[in-house]
Structures are given as structure tokens and as C-alpha cells.
């Protein structure tokens, strides 16, 4: 692609996003692409999460945005300006690393003051900014400590304060909570989200933890195999997964093979493996006879007659396992021609089940979706 073409390409696309990836590809060895054809806009002020298993390309994407990797092909626009060739120190992006990367030979306050020195802020002005940044993460009193004297959660906050102190418009986070225990992680999720909202900054957050992504994000980009599989807000992602990968990666899902028989409005009519007929939501345009996966969440499946509505799919099978989990029960049922169906049933409604019992379950057709097999 030559220079003039690139210019005209930029001119006919209005820039409204803070970050724009345009046909970005990345390969380390020239053969395999870690990121394949990435197009993504990050809106001003939003909390965008890149979610995916390891090796899906999400971290590489973040590193390209941070300036630590250069795209093999394509462009990255920051505030309308191409930045692929800009070194990280010129991008003015806050970055929180997985292991915090605090400087062990400096105190907490010196760590936080570090980015200020490169922006010509020193003396009392810098001290005030450091105090403010530490106050924001409730660490006002620990400025004189060394990072090694802090707990994991406190180190995490220092890293956050350091990335925010110079008021960048964009903050990137690479699995920043991975090293914390579950309770602390959940608290930090809320704190980070609140900080982001109150400061109005744009955050791009990388994680492989789906519950983290669902809790914090305005939008989630699900990465797999170097591509974005789906980009949507958490609810849409959860309720209307675009494909089998998203359905199985976000939350738990039953994926049952079926064949399309016909349509009824926006519902597809399918034949299941045992010959029974189900209805399910479908956005596909494939013709009759195409193979699909019918996806339904365990919590959408209930005991027959327990009020799932009138328009329901019904299946009967034998109980394989029953687990009592306090607020609910997990029921594994062998049904629909030997496929395993998992259901989450409120514990108080469940009678005494034992493996081998015959049980009938049902789910609302609106909770079932057809995904390309």
C-alpha cells in the first residue's frame, strides 16, 4: 500500500473513535499471524475489554497499541493520528502491567512521580499530583515505602496511580488482577471501574477471565485465533453469542447438534438428534437442511411445568449426576439421543433426584439460539 492511497483512505473515513485499528495484522515469523485482520474502534470514555484464551492475540493487540510491538500490516490511529511508528514514550498512554512492573529501587512516591519528570513537572507541583494520585487509590500514607513492603493489592494500586498521575486520555491494562486472590480481585474490579467512570478516561483492558470482563466492561471484544469473534456489550454477548466459540467461552452453555427444518418468523424450527422438534432464535440465513448447534444456558432450563412459559422446548432423559451447590442444583441429564444436557435448578424446587431417574426438562424457545455449527 503506497502513501497516497493511505492518505485518501483516511480522508474518507470520519474519525470519531479515540483508537482505531485498521486492517491490522501481526506476525512474528512471517508465516503465522498472531493477529489476523483486526478492525476495531475504541470509543472515547468507554471501558473496552479484550477477552480471550491465551494465544488469541489479545495481548499482542494491546502491545501494539502501547507501542511495544509494531503491526506487520495495517494502521493504528490514536486520536486520528497514525501511531504505528511512534515509540511508547511519545504516545502518552497509561499502561498497567500484569506483574505491576513497579520500580523496586524507588519508593512508592518516586514511582508515581516518575512519569511527571518527563512532562516537566517537578517540585511542589509534582508532589501535589503524587499526593492526589495516591489519594485516589487510598494509599496516601504509604508514599515512603518501597514496593516490596506492600501487599499485592497495594502494589496494584500504586501501578494504577502511576498510570493515571499524568492524566493520559487512554489507559491500557494487561491482566492487572491476575495475581490477586478472588476477594481482592472482585473489590479491585469495582474500584477500577469506578475510577474509570469518575475520571472519564478510556480504558482498554485485557483479561482471560470472563466474569471480570462482564463485571467491568462497557463493551467486550472476544478474541480467538487472532480474530475478534464478537464485539458487544456484556448482556448481548451473554444472551446472544454470535458463534459456538463465544457461546462456550462466555459462561456455561449446552450446545446440542440439530438440523434446520424451516422457519417461523425469527425462529428456526430444528430437528434434534433424537428426532424431536425444537424451536430456537436464529439470525442465520442458511437454508433448510443446514447443520446447527442449538445453544441454551443451564440456568434457562427448568423442570417441566415450573413456569418457563408456554412456548417451550421439552426433553426427557435419565439423570446422570446431581450436585447440590447451596443456592442451586446442577443436574446432568442424558437426553436428545445420548447428549449431555446440564441444568441449573433452584435448590428449593428440586425433589430428591437420584442418578437413573427419568426427568422431563423444558426451556423457553426465546432462550435457545441457533449457532453455525
Amino acid at each position: 500500500m503506497n502513501f497516497s492511497q493511505r492518505r485518501s483512505f483516511a480522508a474518507d473515513k470520519p474519525i470519531d473513535a479515540l483508537v482505531r485499528f485498521e486492517d491490522v495484522k501481526k506476525s512474528y515469523d512471517g508465516v503465522n499471524f498472531v493477529v489476523k485482520d483486526l478492525n476495531l474502534d475504541v470509543r472515547r470514555g468507554e471501558f473496552l475489554t479484550m477477552l480471550g484464551p491465551s494465544g488469541s492475540g489479545k495481548t499482542t493487540t494491546l502491545m501494539m497499541l502501547g507501542g511495544f510491538e509494531r503491526p506487520t500490516l495495517g494502521r493504528i490511529l490514536l486520536d486520528g493520528r497514525p501511531v504505528e511508528r511512534l515509540p511508547p514514550e511519545k504516545r502518552n498512554i497509561g499502561f498497567v502491567f500484569q506483574n505491576y512492573a513497579l520500580f523496586p529501587h524507588m519508593t512508592v512516591a518516586e514511582n508515581v512521580a516518575f512519569p511527571l519528570r518527563y512532562r516537566g513537572i517537578s517540585g511542589p507541583a509534582a508532589a501535589a499530583k503524587v499526593r492526589e494520585a495516591l489519594g485516589r487509590v487510598s494509599l496516601d500514607t504509604l508514599g515512603d515505602r518501597r514496593p516490596s513492603q506492600l501487599s499485592g493489592g497495594q502494589q496494584q494500586r500504586v501501578a494504577l496511580a502511576r498510570a493515571l498521575v499524568f492524566e493520559p486520555s487512554l489507559v491500557l491494562m494487561d491482566e492487572p488482577l491476575g495475581a490477586l486472590d478472588k476477594q481482592l480481585r472482585e473489590r479491585m474490579q469495582i474500584e477500577i471501574k469506578q475510577l474509570q467512570t469518575s475520571l472519564g478516561i478510556t480504558m482498554v483492558y485485557v483479561t482471560h477471565d470472563q466474569s471480570e470482563a462482564l463485571t467491568m466492561s462497557d463493551r467486550i471484544a472476544v478474541f480467538h485465533d487472532g480474530r475478534i469473534q464478537q464485539l458487544a456489550d456484556p448482556e448481548t454477548l451473554y444472551n446472544e453469542p454470535a458463534n459456538r466459540f463465544v457461546a462456550s467461552f462466555i459462561g456455561e452453555n449446552n450446545t446440542l447438534s440439530c438440523t434446520l427444518m424451516g422457519r417461523e418468523g425469527d425462529l428456526g424450527i430444528v430437528r434434534m438428534a433424537d428426532g424431536s422438534t425444537f424451536k430456537a432464535g436464529s439470525s442465520s440465513t442458511s437454508g433448510t437442511g443446514a447443520e446447527f448447534s442449538l445453544s441454551v444456558r443451564p440456568e434457562s432450563i427448568a423442570l417441566a411445568g415450573s413456569g418457563a412459559g408456554t412456548d417451550v422446548n421439552r426433553m426427557t432423559g435419565t439423570v446422570r449426576d446431581v450436585f447440590f451447590l447451596g443456592d442451586h442444583m446442577r443436574l446432568s441429564l442424558e437426553a436428545l439421543g445420548g447428549q449431555l444436557v446440564t441444568a441449573r435448578i433452584p435448590a428449593r424446587r428440586v425433589g430428591p433426584f437420584a442418578p437413573g431417574d427419568a426427568v422431563t426438562l423444558e426451556c423457553n424457545v426465546r432462550d435457545c439460539r441457533l449457532l453455525e455449527a
Partner: protein, 410 residues
């Protein structure tokens, strides 16, 4: 003390008691090494310290003279009684062949005493009895000098500061005051200074050459780093003598380096490379490089790559990020590597002996000369003690300057 405190102490004691067998068995594993260290390390050092101040010669050879000298006033020549005792002692010494030993010992402090003592011993053997005073004075006026007798009396002590003072270019005047040695005699401070200077120079060069190598080793891909590591370690597996001899081959007047320089017409005549300070420092730097590189490398490898990235993301340029964030964190390795090379360099012997000139000889070379040629064990031991003390002092100084936690020797 409350009941709770007592309970707590009881529990503490119980914990210690419970852990005791484990502690004992762990300690017993270290016993063979401790025993070996005691025999092979601690004992020789103690012996070295004793040898540096031991003073047996005069006591053993002149017992009667020393008794007779006890009531000498020290101002004029002693009376006949002392000369008679000396004659008696020298007769015995002549029979035991220990007169030469005494002469050698006294000669350290008053030159010419060796021949004087031997002449006196011969005179006493031939003589048919006293009075001896005149006969001694006839042999040499020095026998009438109070200074000679003062030195003899002083050397009657079991220990002497003489060797240690000499190793520091000091000496004790006959009147007991300590004064500086001047002229040709004052060589040891010069040698010590030269030793420290060469060791410092070698340390500096190994650091300048080794630090980048350690960094490249850290960031290079595994396969390349492996080969580089091999090249760093290979010299360590070659004998010191072989490596030094290789430098002789390279540096000598008809050696490879001179041939290349002449061949490229960079010089018109052969350069004097061997037997110079340049040769010594070059060869020592080469030999010491791995000792500087390895501790630095081990520290660098433990620094996460994200440190530099974090610095860059916060606004630091590549070199600023390196010097402000990376380099300070390598300090423990730098100090450890430099300390190791500096201390090892202080004790160099073979390399300066083979590659260096006469003005490049270090303390160790002098120690070897005093042991092998002059049989002056006292002075050799004293030089050893001075080297040991200087080394320890430098180590402690480093420890104070950078803190014990800043030195990572492993």
C-alpha cells in the same frame, strides 16, 4: 510476667525443642566441610599471622647474653659480663651451626651484622678466654655501639613488629620510635599501591567490557545466548597458566599482534607489548572477565522485561529508561562482580610474573620471592597479612557503601 507470657515462652521453648533434632542433623551434614575449612583454611591463616610476628632466632641463640643485658643501662657499651655471655652463646652457636641464623636475623635490622656475627663466632672459637670486650671491639667498632646492643636486646622479645613494619615501609629506630624508611628500601607501599591500581584497572575494564555482554546474554534468543555463555565460560575451563602463556604468544615481540600491526603497516617497528603494564592488565582482564560477567548476568536475568516497558510507557526514552530503571537494579550484580574480580586480582601472581615487566610485579610476586629466594618467611607472612587486611578493609568498605543487601554473590 503474666501467665500468658509464660505460656508463650513455654510454647516457644517447645518449638525449639521439637526442631532441635532437625537442626542437629542439618549441622552434622556441614561438619566435614567445617573440619576441612578448619584444617585447610583457618589454621594456615593463623599460622601466617603468627609467622608474621614470630621472633625466635635471638632468643634461642643468645639466651645468656639476653640475661646479661637485662641490667644494661642502654647508654654506653655494656660491661665485660655481657661480652663474656655473648662469647659463651656464640661458642654454643658455632657448635650448633646457628650463628648464621642469628646473623641473618640481625642483618635485617643492621646491615653488615651477618658477617660481623660470623667473624665474632670464629674469633670466639679460636680465642683462649676473656676478657672479651676488647677482642670484640677490635673486630669492629659496632660491637661497642649501644645501638647494636639495643637492637639485640629488643630482638630478645618473642614477638617483633619488625616484619609488619617493613611490609609498610616503616622501621623501629634503635631508640624504639617508629620512622619511615627512605630511598631504595621503601618499596612495599609502592608495590601495594601498584597492586591496588592494577586490580582497580582490571576491575574497571572487566566491567566496561562485561556489562554489555551480560545485557546481551539476557536479551538474546536462547540458542544464541547459549553459545555466548559457552564462550564466556570456556576460558574458565582452561588452566590459568595456559591462558597466560597464550597471552605471551600473542604479545611477544615476534608475536601475532605485532605481526598483524606490521602487516597492516599500522606501526613501522615492533611494539613492546609483553613485559609491560599494558600486557599485564590486558591478560588479567581477559582472565577475570567471567568473574565479573556471571554475577551481573544472574542479577540482570531476574529483572522482568516489563520494567523497561513500564518506564517507556511512562515517558522515558530508551536510554533514560535504561539508566534510571534498569541500571540501578543491576547494581547488586555489578558490586558483586567487581568485588570478586578486584579481590581475585589483588592476589595475582602467575600472570604478572610471565607477562609483566619488573615494574609490574604485584605483592604476591614479592611474597614468592621472599619465600623461595630469601627464605624470609617473616616478611613473606607480613606481606600476606597486609594483603589480607587490605582485602578485608575493601570488602567492609563496599559493604558499608552499598549495603549488604546490595551485593549478590550468587
Amino acid at each position: 510476667m503474666t501467665a500468658v507470657d509464660i505460656d508463650r515462652i513455654n510454647i516457644f521453648m517447645a518449638v525449639r525443642r521439637a526442631a532441635r533434632p532437625a537442626r542437629r542433623s542439618a549441622f552434622s551434614l556441614a561438619l566435614p566441610l567445617l573440619a576441612f575449612l578448619a584444617v585447610a583454611f583457618v589454621a594456615p591463616i593463623l599460622y601466617l599471622l603468627v609467622t608474621a610476628v614470630a621472633n625466635p632466632e635471638t632468643r634461642e641463640v643468645l639466651p645468656r647474653t639476653l640475661v646479661a643485658l637485662q641490667d644494661w643501662d642502654g647508654k654506653s657499651a655494656p660491661d665485660e659480663r655481657v661480652y663474656a655471655a655473648l662469647a659463651e652463646d656464640l661458642k654454643v652457636a658455632k657448635d650448633n651451626s646457628t650463628a648464621a641464623l642469628l646473623g641473618k636475623r640481625l642483618n635485617y635490622e643492621i646491615s653488615g651484622m651477618r658477617s660481623r656475627v660470623l667473624a665474632a663466632a670464629r674469633m670466639v672459637e679460636k680465642s683462649d678466654g676473656g676478657p672479651y670486650k676488647e677482642k670484640f671491639v677490635q673486630l669492629g667498632q659496632e660491637w661497642a655501639s649501644p645501638e647494636t646492643w639495643a637492637v639485640i636486646r629488643r630482638d630478645g622479645a618473642s614477638f617483633t613488629p619488625y616484619y609488619l613494619l617493613t611490609a609498610l615501609d616503616l622501621r623501629q629506630a634503635p631508640d624504639g620510635s617508629i620512622e619511615r624508611v627512605h630511598g631504595d628500601q621503601a618499596i612495599f607501599l609502592d608495590v601495594l599501591g601498584r597492586t591496588l591500581f592494577v586490580a582497580g584497572l582490571v576491575t574497571l575494564f572487566t566491567l566496561l567490557l562485561g556489562y554489555p555482554v551480560a545485557y546481551v546474554l539476557t536479551i538474546a534468543p536462547k540458542a544464541i545466548a547459549g553459545i555466548m555463555m559457552l564462550m564466556v565460560l570456556l576460558p574458565l575451563w582452561t588452566s590459568l597458566l595456559v591462558r597466560t602463556t597464550a597471552w605471551v604468544v600473542l604479545l611477544q615481540s615476534d608475536g601475532i599482534i605485532n605481526d598483524i600491526l606490521l602487516g597492516l603497516h599500522l606501526t613501522s617497528e615492533k611494539l613492546q607489548l609483553i613485559f609491560t603494564r599494558f600486557g599485564t592488565v590486558t591478560a588479567m582482564t581477559h582472565i577475570q572477565l567471567p568473574f565479573t560477567i556471571l554475577p551481573i548476568y544472574s542479577v540482570m536475568r531476574a529483572i522482568p522485561a516489563t520494567q523497561l516497558r513500564a518506564a517507556r510507557s511512562l515517558g522515558a526514552g530508551p536510554s533514560s529508561a535504561f539508566w534510571r530503571v534498569y541500571a540501578p537494579q543491576t547494581l547488586p550484580g555489578v558490586v558483586a562482580g567487581c568485588l570478586m574480580t578486584f579481590i581475585l586480582s589483588l592476589g595475582y601472581y602467575i600472570t604478572p610474573a610471565l607477562v609483566g615487566g619488573p615494574r609490574d610485579q604485584m605483592v604476591s610476586n614479592f611474597i614468592s620471592v621472599y619465600i623461595n629466594r630469601d627464605l624470609n618467611w617473616g616478611l613473606a607472612a607480613s606481606l600476606g597479612v597486609v594483603l589480607l587486611v587490605v582485602t578485608l578493609a575493601i570488602y567492609l568498605l563496599f559493604l558499608r557503601l552499598v549495603g549488604a543487601d546490595k551485593i549478590k554473590l550468587g
